[in-house]
Every structure is written in C-alpha cells, then in structure tokens.
Point group: C2
DNA sequence: ATTATTAATTGTCGTTTTGACAATTAATAA
DNA sequence: TTATTAATTGTCAAAACGACAATTAATAAT
C-alpha cells in the first residue's frame, strides 16, 4: 500500500471568534474551557476536527453545539500553526469569525457550557494564542465590513438606521457623521423601509428597515466603500 | 501526563500557487509531482509541514527549495480540508499564493525539480483539488490587487507604466483605459520616475519607474481603488 | 393647549474623484 | 523631411464625497 511514510501527524482544531452586538457595544462570546490543560480558563469556542468532517463542518458543529444556532455567518480567517502554541501536543487551529444576532442566541442558550458575552474592549485573558486570534479577527471584521454589507448579520431582521450607525461606529472605533452615514447606507439599495417605527429610543421614533435579501445575495461580493476617510 | 486522548491526527501540508508575469501574460509555476500517488502528474508546489516549523515556514521552505528564491511575497489563502481530498491518507493543506518576478526565477532555477511556467488560461489538469486552489487563488489575487499595490511584486525593480498596465489587464481579464490608468497609478504617490527609458517596446520609449519603498511599506495596507468600475 | 426638548430625517454645497474621450509629444523608420 | 507608432498629457461633465445646517415628528413639561 502507498503511504506517506514517516511524516509527522498533528491534531487539527477550529476556534471561533463569535461577535455580537447588544445595541450599544461590540461583544464576543467566550466559554470556560472544559478540558486540561488550562481547564476553567476563558477561551474561544473550539474543538477538534473529526475524521469525517472538514474544518468548515467542524466550526459549524461547534457553534451549533455551544450556541444552538445554525446557519450563522461564518468566515475562515487564517490558520494558527506555530509548533509550540499548544503546550501538550502539536495542534494546528483554523480560526473562524462568526457574526450572530445576540438576541437570537440568548433564546437558545445551551447551558451545558459556561458561555458569557464580554465587551470586546474589556475581556479576560484567554488561553494559548487566543488573544492574538481575537485581535486578528477584529481587524479582519473591520476590513471586511468596510467593503461588504456583513454587519447586518449582527442585527435583528428589523433594524433602524441609528442602530446600524452605532454598530458601524463600534466596529470601526470612530465617530461617523449621522447624516452622511444614512445617505450612504440607503444609497446602496440594500435596505427596504418598513412602515413600522421603533419608539424605544427616542420620541420621534426611527423607521425600521429590513434587508433586501435578493439584492443582498446578489451584491454580497460587491465593493461598497462603507467607511468615510478609509485607512486600514 | 495530560494528553488529548483518542483524537484523530492528520498530515498537514502546504501548497503554493506561484504567479508570474512574462510581460504579456499571467502565468503559474507548476511541478511534476515526485511521489506516489499521481507521480509525474502536474501539481502545485507543496510539501508537508515539518515538526519544527509553522505552515508559513513550510511554504517559504518549499518555495526556496523549488525555486531558489527567498523573501517572496507570500500570502495565506485558505485551508483545504475535505476528508477525502487526498486518496491515500487524510491530509489538510494550507493554500498560499505567491507573487514572484519571473525573470528572477529563471536565473536561479533549481533543476532538481521539473518545473514549468504555464499560461493561467491554458494549464494542464492538476492533481487532487489543486485546480480549485488555482481558481481560488486567482480570485483572491484579483480582489487583493484591486485594493492594494501588490502587483509590483511580479515586476522587476525597474518597470514602465505600460508594463504595469498590461499586468493589470491580465489579472483582471479586462481592458483598462491607458490614460486613466496612468493617472491613477501615478496619483498613488508610490512611484518614483527614473531618468532612464525602456526603448525595447516602442520608438518613443517609456520611462522606467521604481517603487517608493518607504511609502509602499507604510501604505501597503491602505485601500486604493485601483480598478475602475469595480465589481467583484 | 402651548412650548420645550430630543433625536431622526432631509437638505445644501463646494471639493474631489471618476471615467469617457482627444490631442500632443518623442522617438524611429521610410 | 515625413510618416508612423506608442507614450504621455489634457479636457470635461457627472458622480461621489464629506463638512455642515435646517427641518420634522414625536413626547414631556408648563
């Protein structure tokens, strides 16, 4: 039988940086690690890639298992493969970032895992190279969101322009002129204005919008230039 | 001793899509595979990730070994990890794309490996999922090159605007107005005009330019909008 | 009822960028 | 001297950008 003799074999894992938005701040979802080493320390959601699944499959499985959510926005980020990154045994990990509607999650929380939302800017130290993964994910989110309409993934089906505005400011850690922002976001043609208003945040109330799914699917690869004065 | 018991272990490889430009067309560098299965079939340059190196290290090592070149532009693309992608044994491969100056290569060719340049649009069938890798790499190259000044990596230190123009047209598979192109590319401020002219291509001759390394290193992450009417 | 208050929404306008298109220039060959 | 060829510079209207202001729709206070 043919074989690749004498080549070393490694464990392969996936780790997910799960972003959410509570209406005010950008957050990430962390779990208490369930196995040694570093048991009970905070870490990203992760798991080993099984024999019959691809890394993408594994990431989806892990997310389903730990949050109950299916079909979430998931994007491969990069591989982390320094020889010594896991102290026990060589393990390469594929980093993914996920965007979920934080409210959807709360309803389906799987209590078997100790999971908790943390402010992106006020999170505990994480195990291994997970801190670096979060930094990288945040940078990639910022990059991608400047060009493609992906931040909708973190909002409910019905959302308002002001909500979207705050989310963009959070992700980019900067102030954006509300007047120019609303003009730019509506000019994409991706939003459908609803008759209903959200009156919780102000006296006047803000109109709800929903995503034009057809145009969104057709244009999700288009370059948009959603950030003013963009420098990365 | 702590261990991750009973988790499956896999081979991990790297595969490099090496792009080059001969002045007229975009090309990729392929090698004849040196081991079973599929020995002597055309494939990407690749190799297994060794025990003491990261995937990035492995990709650089493979490139050095097969082309003699060091310090080439190398970017991690994505991981290919479908369970059945290698018929012999489960192997996950990290795809990289590389941009090299085709002339530099010719001078340092390592004849131990049967390597050959192929037109990107007229290449042989490749083993495993390498055809998909090439397709993905091409798409990513196009995407990246539209926003960042990376195509210089495929040209000699001294190059002309018309050379750059043809390269952009090749990568994007489209015609670009020469007048608007030269204005846009010079307005980036990344080019330094030299006194010398290239007279091989025309009677008038075209001025040589070189890259402003300082500005290039400082701005390599900036968004530029180098393609007109950009849709991806 | 009238007014003050607050946040959402629509509006203005000069500057810059874009991209379609044409004229000029610098060299060589006839 | 002229024809030829490709590089380079030029023109301009339309669109996009971004700094900044006014108006509007509601509620709360008087």
């Amino acid at each position: 039988m043919i074989e690749y003799s004498r080549q070393p074999h490694y464990l392969v894992a996936v780790d997910c940086i799960v972003f959410g938005f509570d209406g005010e701040h950008l957050k990430i979802l962390l779990v208490k690690r369930g196995l040694e080493p570093e048991i009970n320390k905070w870490s990203l959601m992760g798991g080993f890639v099984g024999a019959d699944e691809s890394p993408d499959d594994a990431a989806n499985r892990v997310l389903k298992k730990m949050t109950g959510l299916e079909g979430v926005y998931l994007e491969q980020m990069q591989i982390y493969g320094e020889p010594g990154r896991d102290p026990i045994e060589r393990t390469l990990s594929v980093g993914y970032f996920a965007l979920i509607d934080i409210h959807k999650y709360e309803a389906q929380l799987n209590d078997d895992y100790e999971a908790e939302w943390f402010l992106i800017n006020d999170r505990p130290k994480l195990i291994f190279d997970h801190n670096q993964m979060v930094t990288d994910a945040r940078k990639k989110l910022r990059y991608k969101a400047a060009l493609h309409p992906i931040l909708f993934e973190m909002l409910p089906k019905k959302f308002t322009i002001p909500q979207l505005h705050i989310l963009f400011e959070e992700v980019n850690d900067t102030k954006i002129d509300t007047r120019n922002f609303s003009r730019k976001i509506t000019s994409t043609g991706l939003l459908i204005k609803l008759a209903e208003k959200d009156r919780t945040g102000s006296k006047k109330g803000a109109f709800y919008f929903k995503l034009d799914k057809k145009k969104y699917n057709a244009n999700s690869q288009a370059f948009l230039n959603l950030m003013p004065n963009l420098k990365v």
